[in-house]
Every structure is written in structure tokens, then in C-alpha cells.
């Protein structure tokens, strides 16, 4: 009976060891990604099969893009606050509100244009095939692809052109 118990428990330990071994081996690369400063860029490198030189260049583009993006966001937030304050005290559409709305729309358009410019730069840094794949992917994932419009009509959903 003692021998049988040793075999029983030994079998379970072997199963646990096999599980841990394959799990750790299978997730090792991803755990290394998460330990880095910019795991999302390392993911990009892996996903689009980038060489080290391409990755370094894309990392530089990314680091240069982020502060400008944050600054544009800050300015849009400022205008958002102004619009909220102005609208809350107004009783009709004033030239000031129209000006602020136009300014916000212009800044959003600038923001999208800069974003698209960044995507083109990144895609040009990649091998041509991967660059095309990257562009298709970012267009699907970002605000360049607008959310469907819906006026509440049943089954009537249109996209921004």
C-alpha cells in the first residue's frame, strides 16, 4: 500500500512539474516583455517581425511623437473646459461658443493628421509588407476609423465618410 501511495503522489507531482515547465517555457518571452520599460513597443517588434535597427528607429519615432500628442491633448482639454463653462452660462448659441467649437474641431483634425503622419512614418520604417499590414491595423484600431453614427432609427446605421 505504501508503494502504491508513493506512485499515486509521484504521478501527481510529475503532472504538476510538467504543467509548470511548459507554462513557464511558453510564457517566458511575454514575461520578459512585461518586465521591460515599453512592452507595447516590444510587442510591435514581435508582431511585425522588426529587425533591431527598425525597432530602434520606431522607438525614437514613438518617443518623439508622445510629448507632442500629450500637448495636443492638453490643449483640447483646455478648450473642452472653456466650452463647458461658456455653454453653462449661455442661453443661445453665441459667436464665442461657435468659435470654441470650431477651434476644437480644428485641433482634433490636427491631432488626427499628426497621428496619421506618425503612422505613415512608422510604416515606412518597417519592411514594405509589414508596413502595409501595420497601416491597415492602425486604421482599424484608432479613431481614424470613426464609430458608426446612429440617429436611433431602427437598423439605420451610417459611418462618417
Amino acid at each position: 500500500m505504501k508503494r502504491a501511495l508513493i506512485i499515486l503522489i509521484g504521478g501527481l507531482l510529475v503532472a504538476c512539474a510538467a504543467y509548470c515547465l511548459l507554462y513557464l517555457a511558453g510564457t517566458a518571452a511575454h514575461r520578459r516583455l512585461f518586465a521591460s520599460q515599453t512592452p507595447e513597443l516590444l510587442w510591435l517588434k514581435k508582431e511585425f517581425n522588426l529587425s533591431e535597427a527598425e525597432f530602434v528607429r520606431i522607438e525614437q519615432l514613438h518617443q518623439a511623437y508622445l510629448p507632442q500628442c500629450r500637448e495636443r491633448c492638453r490643449r483640447i482639454e483646455e478648450i473642452n473646459d472653456k466650452i463647458i463653462k461658456t455653454v453653462s452660462t449661455a442661453t443661445k448659441l453665441t459667436p464665442e461658443i461657435e468659435r470654441l467649437l470650431a477651434e476644437r474641431a480644428r485641433m482634433r483634425a490636427d491631432c488626427q493628421a499628426e497621428m496619421l503622419k506618425h503612422f505613415f512614418e512608422v510604416s515606412r520604417t518597417m519592411p514594405p509588407e509589414q508596413g502595409r499590414r501595420y497601416l491597415t491595423w492602425v486604421q482599424e484600431q484608432t479613431c481614424l476609423r470613426e464609430v458608426p453614427m446612429n440617429h436611433g432609427d431602427a437598423g439605420h446605421v451610417r459611418r462618417h465618410e
Partner: protein, 116 residues
């Protein structure tokens, strides 16, 4: 063709049974032995339990062939579970990292992005 009627079949069967004779004799204490076998089967049915089954399994595990099969099966199960779990987690992490990249370059996606 005229079909045979059940009553006719019955009659022929009865005739056959009337002429049939059993020449061999039954073994001594045949009836008693039959009852003993029935009793043993009933007792065996009553004593069936999980502990008996576990004991039987443990006894069987001491056989080298079964022990090897048992450890091998658990080894394969552990490998498959580890592989499957790692695959599921890495797929989930890939989605999370893709979402993180998109959020970094497109702040508008913070409200729209699906959490990993």
C-alpha cells in the same frame, strides 16, 4: 402461401415437450449451491463502496505496467494543460499589449478600447 397460425405452433411445441426426456442427472446439492451463489452475489453488491474501489485501485497501481501507464498519462495531461494555459495567457497578453500601443498613440481610444 398460407401463414402458420400461432395455435398450431403451440400444439406442435407441446407435442415436442411431451416426448422430450432429460437423461442426465443434476449434481449433488445443486439447488443449495445455486442459492449460495445468489447470496454471495447479493453480499458482494452490498459491500461495494468508494473506499473499496480506491483500495482496489491502489492495489492495481503496484503493478509496473499500470503504474507506468498512470504516471505517463499524468505527465501528458500536465504537459497539455501547461501548453494550453500558456497559449491562452499569451494570446490574452498580446491583445492587452496591442491595446496598450493603440492607447499610447491614440488617446481617443482610452474610452473605446476593450480591456484585456
Amino acid at each position: 402461401m398460407k401463414p402458420e397460425r400461432p395455435s398450431e405452433n403451440h400444439e406442435s411445441f407441446r407435442r415436442l415437450m411431451r416426448v422430450w426426456r432429460v437423461d442426465s442427472s443434476i449434481p449433488p446439492r445443486f439447488q443449495e449451491q445455486v442459492w449460495q451463489r445468489i447470496e454471495r452475489a447479493e453480499v458482494a453488491k452490498e459491500v461495494f463502496s468508494w473506499s473499496a474501489m480506491v483500495n482496489e485501485f491502489l492495489r492495481a497501481l503496484t503493478r509496473p505496467a499500470l503504474a507506468t501507464a498512470y504516471v505517463s498519462a499524468l505527465l501528458v495531461a500536465g504537459l497539455l494543460a501547461g501548453h494550453w494555459h500558456a497559449r491562452a495567457d499569451t494570446t490574452k497578453w498580446d491583445k492587452a499589449l496591442a491595446s496598450r500601443y493603440v492607447q499610447a498613440v491614440d488617446p481617443y481610444q482610452q474610452a473605446l478600447a476593450i480591456d484585456p
